[in-house]
């Protein structure tokens, strides 16, 4: 927008006054990370707005080119650090598509299970922090408490809470540990009560409702134009959910609805995400009841390493193991675009392989990058305090915006 600078310096013809330019961030609790937002104000009304990003740029796409296909998974964790497993998901699906393999049913179900748990965890962080932005302190503690249960389950299986790298090309790090299903069962039984509790805390709170209704609206046309995906687009009435429209990893096996709203404002986004948590829980419940037995990784030593016992007994296994960890998986030359429905929208990976053990190019389409680009449209002619509400409702993670 070349007219951004002119807007920032535009003199009001009636009063002869220039707008006041205010900087939000880069370090500000309401910007959810290192985001800087320049706003030009006329009184309290926003005349121009420009998000400035790049403060958290860590060169993840560049670094991926220097790592083997499996090592690069660790970097995908660090983009959307609130739901690392959905990031792993899109990447491993892309590499598997290049390899032309499909993982066994059990593995697909475990992946879906963790993707849905991550979605709930991510939405809980969004709910807690955006409510805190609006001045409601207590939901944060209740949401964090439930999120901790999900992180416990991730830690149980992957060994880490925040950067698990649990999904691997051709499988998982390991099978579900003993006692996992009992823990999952307890969570599934307990969580519906907490969703009701969040509704009780917020939905009958007149401040919350008044503050959110009609704030920072966007039309479906604009949302599509800006490449919005995920709950934000569904809050504008477009029922685009990759789990339904372009199913992957056995999503077609599960029954769930895609919640939509039509208003396109902050309140609609709040409702879409709240209902999505219930739908995710529905999927988790179906997995809990019908988890298939069997293999949880592909049986191919060129892709997934042989197990440790085998290496001790079998010379062949030792060689494959050594080759896999020194050279990486040999992925046939080609290119693929692989996308999954993350908590914030479409996480897409455009992976180019030149036939070696390292990716030639990994492009990450972070949903937050495209979502935050529309912030100027959301807050145009609204009041300054609504910028905070708008940023909270977009649910950005700057690790993913800047990569």
């Amino acid at each position: 927008m070349a007219d951004v600078e002119t807007k920032f310096g535009q003199v009001d013809p009636e009063t002869g006054l220039k707008p006041m330019v205010i900087n939000l961030g880069p370090q500000h609790p309401a910007t959810h990370g290192v985001l800087r937002v320049r706003v030009a104000l006329d009184g309290e009304q926003i005349r121009a707005c420009e998000p400035v990003i790049g403060y958290l740029h860590t060169g993840i796409e560049k670094n991926c080119e220097d790592l083997t296909f499996n090592q690069a998974i660790t970097l995908t964790d660090r983009m959307d650090y609130l739901s690392p497993l959905t990031n792993n998901f899109g990447y491993v699906l892309g590499v598997e598509k290049l390899l032309g393999v499909e993982v066994p049913k059990r593995c697909q179900y475990i992946r879906v299970l963790f993707a849905e748990l991550s979605r709930i965890a991510s939405h809980l962080v969004w709910l807690g922090t955006s409510a805190m932005d609006m001045g409601a302190m207590s939901p944060f503690f209740y949401t964090m408490q439930q999120r901790e249960l999900i992180l416990d389950m991730i830690e149980m299986s992957a060994g880490a809470r925040m950067n698990p790298s649990y999904f691997r090309v051709g499988g998982l790090l390991n099978d579900l540990p003993p006692g996992f299903m009992e823990k999952l069962d307890a969570f599934v039984k307990g969580f519906p009560h907490w969703i009701d509790e969040y509704y009780r805390l917020l939905d009958r709170n007149p401040i919350w409702v008044e503050r959110l209704k009609g704030t920072a609206p966007i039309s479906a046309e604009d949302a599509l134009d800006y490449g919005w995906t995920g709950p934000l687009l569904r809050a504008c009435g477009v029922a685009r959910d990759l789990r339904k429209t372009n199913p992957y990893s056995s999503y077609e096996d599960f029954e769930f609805d895609v919640p939509t709203e039509t208003a396109g404002d902050v309140y609609a986004r709040y409702h879409v995400r709240m209902r999505e948590m219930r739908e995710s829980l529905r999927i988790v419940r179906q997995i809990l009841d019908g988890m298939p037995e069997g293999d949880w990784h592909v049986d191919n030593w060129k892709i997934y390493p042989p197990n440790k016992m085998e290496i001790g007994r079998n010379m062949e296994a030792l060689i494959y193991h050594f080759k896999l960890f020194t050279e990486g998986i040999r992925v046939p030359a080609g290119e693929v675009y692989s996308a999954v429905e993350g908590p914030k929208g479409e996480i897409g990976y455009f992976i180019v392989s030149d036939g070696s053990g390292k990716p030639y190019r990994v492009r990450v389409r972070g949903p937050s990058f495209y979502n935050i680009a529309a912030l100027p449209v959301l807050v145009q002619d609204q009041i300054l305090a609504d910028v905070v509400a708008a940023i909270g409702s977009i649910d950005i993670v700057l690790g993913e915006v800047d990569r």
């Binding site: 740029h57 796409e61 134009d225 492009r363």
Partner: protein, 155 residues
């Protein structure tokens, strides 16, 4: 999907080339035609520009592939457009006036690859600091960076 591709071939003839890669449709387009092709596809229902990026094939001429991912909301289908650009100052016409999502994506692509998008309303760096030397995602840009310290820019 097929009738859109046929219409595309009918309108643009041999200036576009349709192929398939791992079940995904890829259309190669000449750089000069990209705006009209994208406008044409948008009018046929490809109403989302999901992503825009580039790939540096160092040693090949033309050196860069600029890659566009489009999505058809009703057909639920993806389409990938590829444009080859090269030369000392690689450039391609901007599509930011067709899709708003291209605005930031083209800025990032310019920042990372040095591909200039002609007609972009505000083509400046987006992730790297203003005044940065080089374009980090080019294959001849070292992983450790060119400068030991980034230059400090005062506004």
């Amino acid at each position: 999907m097929n009738d859109i591709l046929e219409a595309l071939l009918g309108t643009f003839g041999d200036r576009v080339e349709v192929s398939e890669s791992l079940g995904q449709t890829v259309v190669r387009v000449a750089a000069a035609e990209i705006v009209s092709v994208i406008t044409f596809l948008k009018s046929r229902g490809f109403n989302m520009l999901i992503d825009l990026t580039a790939v540096d094939h160092l040693g090949r001429e033309p050196r860069f592939d600029v890659v566009y991912q489009l999505y058809h909301l009703d057909l639920r289908a993806y389409l990938r457009l590829k444009v080859q650009v090269g030369g000392d100052e690689p450039s391609v016409p901007s599509v930011a006036h067709v899709f708003a999502s291209a605005n930031w994506a083209e800025r990032e692509c310019y920042d990372m690859f040095g591909v200039v998008f002609r007609g972009h309303p505000d083509l400046k760096r987006i992730l790297m600091p203003d005044g940065w030397k080089g374009h980090p995602l080019r294959k001849d840009y070292p992983l450790t960076g060119l400068d030991p310290l980034p230059p400090l820019v005062h506004e």
